[in-house]
Point group: C2
Chain length 374, copies 2
């Protein structure tokens, strides 16, 4: 397969910005950025250049596959992601398809799941596509643009820490998810996965584009603001609003102190609710409902932001994103929201990954409407 | 693959005897004999001759695979076993191995799991081997002579009612079992399976032999006794004792009325305890502990029989075996025990399928020692 030349080369100096951006888009999920950064730094010591290709440069008949970690994010902190297992998932998928894999696409954005596919691509000597299947992180297998376009997650390969493998072949991506959850539990709460084998044509029809460059743009904006002692959150909001290709609405929702993070592991998900209280007036509380990711932020009964729009909690001091499993009592934080990519706001997408898909008793309202501004 | 001529041809007239024998060996498990009989009768209407080959006639390089139903027996009564799904498991296994399957071996004895492999063999136009992996029924995947000889259950194929499939590839058969249980639950409590791909040489080294002919012998003995108005249980005990090739000890353990069958579905198993009370003296109780199969029979603290020896409850009137999920309050029953095949009584077998493998607080004592006779 002849890919066109890479759009750009990702280098070790890009890692910090990339991980910041991925973690911001993770919406509280997508895995721990500290671990994601470590893994990518380690891989890039031996292989310091990763070709990133634009989806438009991928031939229609190329073989692409998504890879990443699945399971409860809090388990993936205690049991470090096993890159050998991830490589085995990739190898097993290639052997199963009978054709060579030409490029890797991340399944989602997030501190860990944006870096694991890059680590795998580096090790396999493959390019990575500047795209993903979510443009953020979501908890379930079928909550992907690939699935919304009718493409199968199957065959899906799950590999545990010992290189043992389960292969799921269904005609229904939601069923695939229902099958892998108890299996991931039996594997210890997390596993490495390869899924969504796509042709280049399928990828181009369905992927969220520019995910890697978007992550780099977010990270570089924040790092520049920090260097220049400007407010990173204001810089980010302007960066999204003024983006020349893809302007997006973003807003600061709330500032306060984490008063009561109740997150537990249920069915290989992190489930719970986080309360953040105003520093001056502790009765003024913003509540965030969590299923791996932040799904809805409410204050005094009013919805501030709702899935699929991105809700990210950042440290009030340095604007570093904090994943839900890392929220601790007493942390001073800000809640930031960002409009989801347009493709996630279409009715057929909302049916799969909107509020009702999470059994929330709200319809989707775009962030910019909730905040009376565009 | 050139198999030697069949040892015998199984015909529709053999079904009743076969199902009786299979159900007797099922030790309370192995699935419902009524459904097993129906399925085999239906298949034999179209294809009334099934070649049964002796393991010794199987070439060393033949490809053999085990098939059957897995899950809680009580679910398999409400959701009839899907032969199309079983055929898909077989077909998927063949495609996965890349080589043609030459013969089918039943995974266990039992009213349903002794007939499903024959139905699949008939439909696939394959012979069935006169053997199995248990010589009785057991609840878990690794509780098989194939496993005890070190052969992998993997790749194991599970197919649900919709033809969707999960393939398990592990290096550890007990892990395979831990993975498939929650998966079977997610599939609705039961699934069709193909597992233990074996060469002819592996089969000959590890299988329990003569399982089908043993079943026929048991069934014919009982049917003859019924016809001649002799006591079927006495006839069976003599049949086992006087068998010219494989004499086995058998005993009548207890006669009474089912007073309290407590069987529930837990983790895709039938789990519980059954109490059977003496008709004259209701305080004289025999308790049977169940995990799909009858594991131990105790009376006044004394062990009457213990796994892997076979414990079967039969109707006191006609000696028809009653599977655990079909036990009802008030049934008049007899409890019969039969020595397990020698291969299940070896130390390496007892480690996997003896009392301690079921967390029973007893060591194995052979049935003939418990009854002071040989």
């Amino acid at each position: 397969m002849n890919m066109e030349p890479a759009q750009f080369i990702l280098r070790p100096g890009d890692i910090d910005a990339l991980v910041y951006g991925a973690s911001f888009l993770g919406s509280g999920g997508g895995g721990d950025p500290y671990i994601g950064r470590l893994i990518l730094k380690q891989e890039m010591e031996a292989r310091p250049a990763l070709p990133v290709i634009d989806p438009s440069a991928v031939p229609d008949d190329a073989n692409i596959i998504g890879v990443g970690a699945v399971g409860a994010p809090s388990v993936l902190i205690e049991r470090l992601p096993n890159i050998d297992s991830l490589m085995y998932a990739l190898e097993r998928a290639e052997r199963h398809s009978g054709g060579k894999i030409d490029a890797i696409v991340p399944i989602e954005a997030g501190g860990l799941n944006a870096t694991l596919p890059l680590a795998a691509a580096l090790r396999a000597g493959l390019p990575v596509v500047d795209a993903d299947g979510m443009g953020r992180a979501f908890p379930e297998t079928q909550m992907m643009t690939f699935s919304i376009h009718g493409y199968a997650a199957s065959p899906l390969f799950l590999v545990d820490d010992y290189g043992d493998c389960a292969i799921i072949e269904t005609k229904d991506n939601a069923k695939t998810d229902r099958w892998i959850r108890p299996l991931i539990d039996a594997m210890g709460g997390a596993a490495m996965a390869a899924a969504y084998p796509l042709s280049g044509a399928m990828l181009k029809a369905s992927a969220v584009r520019n995910t890697i460059s978007t992550q780099l743009g977010i990270g570089r904006t924040v790092y520049a603001a920090r260097r220049e002692k400007r407010d990173p959150v204001n810089a980010l909001i302007r960066h999204f609003r003024d983006h020349k290709d893809q302007p997006r609405f973003a807003a600061r929702l709330f500032t306060g102190k984490v008063s009561d993070p109740k997150i537990s592991i249920e069915g290989a998900f992190n489930i719970g609710e986080v309360r953040i209280a105003d520093m001056q007036n502790p009765d003024d509380i913003c509540k965030i409902t969590v299923k791996n990711e932040n799904l809805i932020a409410r204050r005094r009964g009013k919805v501030l932001a709702i899935v699929p729009d991105i809700i990210t909690v950042v440290d009030a001091d340095d604007a570093e994103p904090i994943t839900t499993e890392n929220l601790k009592f007493g942390q001073r934080v800000e809640i930031i929201a960002l409009a989801a990519p347009d493709v996630l706001r279409e009715p057929r997408a909302l049916a799969v990954l909107g509020p009702r898909a999470f059994k929330l008793k709200y319809d989707y309202t775009p962030l910019e409407e909730l905040h009376g501004s565009k």
